[in-house]
């Protein structure tokens, strides 16, 4: 309950944060909403020497449209995403995903950037980020780079962020044409983390057939992943029950599923298949 000692700095700008971080990227941690880091610190599983609190950099919190993109600042809270009328109308997957995270208190304080950077294998955002082909805008000393979601999640609790870098923004191409979204989740009864979470983003043609499908799944493997097998099985097909069912069978293709006290790997895969099907059905039902 009592973390080890650390020092605390509040940079006024992202540049200052990067400078602070550069002193010793290994023992300095960035603090945003703190809902991944502080629990680990309370258990002393994380003992950073210095916390750089970017939570007060106002310019890092926003949801806006720019050209054909939706831009989301890294310290935007889950609740801001959940309650955004703009997102509900142009990209409903984001509010749907946000709504299923943790609980009200967590959503009020936790941030999308913090969650993505932590890359918890059972976090919700990675699934949505993958399904929406989000791009991560990363800043480091003297550089800014953009990484696709598919390349961002590297392994268990491990992202492409290098020591000294900060996730600044999440960019999503605004869904256009006929599309439909759904996020379906099995929360762990105790922690609320996703035992399985499936984010579905479908683009339909004039006939209502699937033109493109991107599906992100979290909770199953050591990191969230794109369900390529499902996507392939849907693309170019009419979204009838049989097609969806067959496609969903591929939800765990090639994935070495996790096993814990709550769910074995076999059962996790079963949940992934069933909820992939249900998520697709739910998405289709919105159109």
């Amino acid at each position: 309950m009592i973390p080890a000692q650390f020092d605390y700095q509040v940079p006024q700008s992202l540049e200052e944060a990067i400078r602070l971080l550069a002193q010793d990227p290994d023992s300095i941690k960035v603090l945003a909403g703190g809902h991944s880091l502080i629990p680990a610190m309370k258990l002393r599983l994380a003992q950073p020497q210095l916390l750089v609190d970017i939570g007060r950099i106002k310019s890092l919190s926003y949801i806006k449209e720019e050209g054909d993109q939706i831009l989301i600042g890294a310290t935007t809270t889950h609740y801001e995403l959940e309650s955004s009328e703009l997102l509900k109308s142009i990209c409903p997957l984001l509010p749907a995903c946000a709504k299923s995270i943790g609980d009200v208190q967590v959503r009020n304080k936790g941030t999308i950037g913090g969650s993505l950077a932590h890359s918890d294998p059972a976090g919700d955002w990675p699934a949505a980020a993958l399904a929406l082909n989000a791009e991560m805008v990363i800043v480091g000393p003297g550089l800014e780079r953009v990484v696709k979601a598919a390349d961002f999640f590297v392994d268990l609790l491990t992202t492409d962020l290098k020591p000294g870098e900060i996730l600044r923004e999440i960019r999503i191409k605004k869904p256009t044409g006929r599309f439909c979204h759904a996020y379906q989740k099995v929360p762990h009864p105790a922690s609320g983390f996703a035992v399985v979470g499936v984010a579905v983003n479908l683009v339909l043609n004039g006939a209502g057939d699937c033109e493109a499908a991107t599906i992100g799944i979290t909770g199953v493997g050591t990191k969230a992943y794109r369900a390529n097998g499902v996507e392939t099985a849907l693309t170019g097909r009419a979204l009838d029950a049989a097609t969806i069912e067959v496609a969903a069978e591929h939800a765990c293709d090639g994935v070495d599923a996790n096993s814990d006290l709550y769910a074995s790997s076999e059962y996790r895969c079963q949940l992934a298949r069933v909820h992939t099907r249900r998520a697709i059905e739910a998405a289709v039902a919105t159109r």
Binding site: S36, L45, L156, L157, P163, D260, L261
Partner: protein, 176 residues
Amino acid sequence: MKVEGVQHIDAPRAKVYQLLVDPVGLSRFIPGCEQLERTGDNTFAATLKAGVGSIKGTFKSTVKLEDLRPNEHFRMVVDGKGAPGFVKGSGDLDLSDEDVGTSVKYSGDIQVGGTIASVGQRMIQATAKMMAVQFFTSLERDAKPSGDTSSAPPPNFFRRALSWISGWLREFFRKR
């Protein structure tokens, strides 16, 4: 926790064996290994900075290699202790020739205690798997005849990625 599997290494058996029982090699393969010193015949003292992401801990460990049958088999016994708890394990590694390269069959038991056991169960198995992959990736990188390192992950990736549960992971790999 039982950990077992078979890993193909694209290198001759003798070389793989030699790398595996050599302290220099071990210190490179064991995720998070910062120091490995010989303290006796096939006995080593190691400092492991283990963790994943922001979750880290330092483990003071002993590593023993037992039942050595050159190019065929050895057993690794690891005992690590640190503030987050302890990691103990022992495992058998059996090497055999394949058409190309070597097959390493490993099978062991890992025991985790303390904080990591009481709070980390959700990720323990996943971490173990991750550590195993890292161990063999490093082994393969070193064992490969050519100096092709383009596919090897950057060193700080390893440092960061391998840490927390790497204590025990390493241990069981070593055991094999």
